[in-house]
């Protein structure tokens, strides 16, 4: 079983990305959980969301304390939210930032694998504006998930809520996010 933690700010779509990831993992035949951490909810406040992915039925219902992968959707949370908490040196820290992995290592003191991607810029270039989707693309790449499966699921999920034009922008951002780390 793999455990993943998302850091974002309220309104940035970290929870949505977490749920999309669960949908994608299900398509791969995995068992999944996706849940946010609930407190007083305010737009802009730091939030955490979690994924569990497993080949077996997931029975555990406790919180995730020691994730293998941490995805930081908002670069300012590197200081504010202690994103390396519980992350072992074997783990992966994936950060939305224009900085290099070495710069993030210096900043966080984390000595394991650090991957960086300027998801905010990718989303801006694609016109979608939300960094959560290219971050999801990057994470799908990190997890080794089949791209076609993932893209189809993102398309399906976003199409339920968004007009075609916006879906297209997001799919472009998703693709660039995926390719950046492939």
């Amino acid at each position: 079983m793999k455990e993943i933690r998302w850091h974002g700010r309220g309104g940035q779509g970290a929870k949505t990305a977490s749920q999309l990831l669960a949908d994608i993992n299900l398509q791969e035949g995995k068992f999944v959980q996706s849940f946010p951490e609930y407190g007083p909810e305010r737009s802009g406040a730091p939030i955490r969301a979690y994924n569990r992915v497993s080949d077996e039925k997931i029975r555990v219902h406790s919180g995730v304390d020691e994730p293998e992968v941490v995805a930081v959707v908002d670069p300012t949370l590197l200081q504010a939210a202690n994103p390396t908490e519980g992350l072992s040196e074997d783990g992966v820290l994936l950060v939305n930032t224009p900085k290099s992995p070495d710069e993030v290592k210096d900043e966080t003191g984390f000595t394991g694998e650090v991957l960086t991607i300027d998801a905010t810029q990718i989303a801006e270039d694609a016109g979608s504006g939300y960094a959560n989707v290219p971050m999801l693309g990057a994470l799908v790449s990190v997890l080794g998930t089949d791209y076609e499966v993932a893209e189809a699921e993102v398309d399906k999920a976003l199409s339920k809520k968004l007009p075609d034009e916006i879906v297209e922008m997001n799919l472009q951002a998703f693709k660039v996010g995926y390719e950046t780390l492939s």
Binding site: Q19, A22, D23, L26, Q27, G29, F31, V32, Q33, S34, F35, P36, Y38, K57, I58, R59, V60, H61, S62, G63, D65, E153, K156, A157
Partner: protein, 391 residues
Amino acid sequence: MSNGNKEVLTGHQVVANAMRQVEPDVVAAYPITPQSEIVEYFSQYVADGKVDSEVITVESEHSAMSACVGSAAAGARTMTATASQGLALMMEIVYIAASMRTPIVMAVANRALSGPINIHCDHSDSMAARDSGVIQLYGEDAQEAYEFTLMAQRLAESEDVLLPVMVTLDGFTLTHTAQVAELLPDRAVSDFVGEYDARYPLLDVENPTTQGPFDMPDYYFEHKLQQVEAMENVSDRFLEVQEEFNDLSGSSYDGLFETYKLEDADYAVVILGSTAGTAKVVVDELREKGKKVGLLKPWLFRPFPGEEIKDVLVDKEAVAILDRSLSFGSSGPLYLEVSSALSDGDTKPRLYNYTYGLGGRDIKEDQIAGVFEDLENPDLEDKMRYIGARQ
């Protein structure tokens, strides 16, 4: 969102879908965290024309349950959902719903009762309703919450039961967690629940009835005895409903509680709801180390299947009962039931009571492993233990 028939769904979504598939005549509810989305999803289904139900928006849970009682007395299939303070406010009418024998099915998204105010999970809300006369089912995951909501309908409406059924699911842990679940086809559910034929519909003007009358001391007691008898019928009916449901769904419900690696176990935990899932993981880990440990998870808490539980626990060395609510000045509600069930034997296991998870306090695998470790100590002192509380 699907893989075969599997989908990623939250507890809210599975319960709302169960309600949609049951298609009650009336749903009266008032929003409260962590229940709100159940009724939000359901109301959306109604607005979208996916289900033909009357949703009554009310000004409080007291009114919600009152509307439900009126609706059920009129002969309508009726459902609601609530949590925590909402259930507390509803409580006066919950007793009346049971005494008037209205088969209302209600979801309770378990949340701690104030105060201090807290939105997270424990079982203090539904445990406060345990003497109200409702049947109580506790689910471990979204799948069970879904399936219990469907079975509850049949159980509530069983001719010799006719009582409200409360289906509980742990707030946030189950309500807000997207997880893999499998829904039945709509048609299969509507065939399973069938048409509801109320015994005394108030709207039947050809056969007028008066309902909810005043009782003097010469009849109140007899009406309570009727409720006692109805509760006594629940276990058999639940088993029958399970069998039918298994045929329909391929599930394997076969009792009033689930046992997990219990048969040859020396040490066992008894636990309700989602934490039973975490405990199963611990049982697996300890079994790999050669420990003879097991688990018992009551599905049915009211009526409490004491006799049946006694049969499977009586030969154990030691049993820990994990309560997620307090009964101040006494032991935990689940402990009291289990210890009462085991009280009349010549020999019985050593019994210990633990309280855990109040107000959403997380419980970890290693903490449950610690409970099993405690049980191996034959000299363990008999006193309440509070898992994870700073003392």
